[in-house]
Every structure is written in structure tokens, then in C-alpha cells.
Amino acid sequence: MEGLTQAENRELEQRLQKRQVKEFMSMFNTMVDGCFVPCVDDFTSKALSGRETGCLTRCVAKNFAATGRLSERFAEQSAAMQQAQGQGR
């Protein structure tokens, strides 16, 4: 990380940890909202139906897998992008 001192790196690391907690909570919230919308639609009862619970569970599983796959692609693409920028300069 281009010429940061040790103290600066430590400070940075702490912020990164905070960022990760935040990212993680945001991922969790996105998952709840993104699965609640398509899966929960029946308000004749106040408890989730078996169908709704199943839909939520499958929705989480599929979105979790999709997030993992997209994260891999993201890592590859941004590595390629940085390399291309390095050559461009």
C-alpha cells in the first residue's frame, strides 16, 4: 500500500475491520429484503407458511451462491483492470 508507515497500516486495518462488519450487515440486510419481497406475499396469517419459509431458504442459498460466484468474477476483473491501467501508463 504505497508508502504507508506501520502506524498508518495499523489504523487502516482497524478501519477495514469496521468496514467489514458494515459490509457484512449490509449483505445480511440486502438478503433479508431481497428474499422477503418475492417470497412473502400472504398476509392471511401472522406466521410464515411452509411455502414462504422454503422460498426464503432457497432464496438465501441461491443468492449466497450467486454472491460467491460474482465475487470471484469481480476479483478477476479488477485484477485485470489494474494490470491494464498499469500498462497504459
Binding site: V32, D33, F36, V40, T44, K46, A47, L56, V60, G68
Partner: protein, 98 residues
Amino acid sequence: MSFFGMGRQQPTSAEKIAAVEQEMKLMASMHNRMIQMCTKKCLPTDYREGDLNKGESVCLDRCAAKFFEAHTVVSTALEKESQNRGGPAAGGGFGFGG
């Protein structure tokens, strides 16, 4: 209050305040998202009357209960997925559904 890692022995004032504040942000976000979700699910958008009618009120109550329950279901499902495939949450709970 468990997972905002006060792992060390003596948290400083700033850390304690940050932890409580974080907990509150969490609740505020859940509150806001519940309102957003459930008004969308339960209120028709033609707005012919300004009062909540009976059907809408009951729908809101049930939607609130289901939104909380959905947090638990999602939390459990996400934990299971993380353990299976070793995702970012492999280490512990999600603060819900514990």
C-alpha cells in the same frame, strides 16, 4: 451485544460508545426497512382515503411479525450456507435467531 467483538480486556470509552451506537444503528435500520417493506406490501397506491382501514391494519401487523420471523429464517439459512461453503460468516451467528 455479542458480535461487535469486544475481544480485548478493557474496552475504551470510544469503543463502548461505538458498540452501543452500532447496536442502535442496527435496530434503526431494521425498523426503517420493516416500514418500507410492509407499507409497500399492505398499502394500495391509489390513496383514495387517508385513513388506515381494517384490512390494511391487520396486514401491517402480520407483515411486521413475518418480517421479524424472516430475519430468523434468513439468519439460520445464511449460517448453514456459510458453514457448508466457508463463506464470510463462517465464524458465528448473525445477531438474530440465536
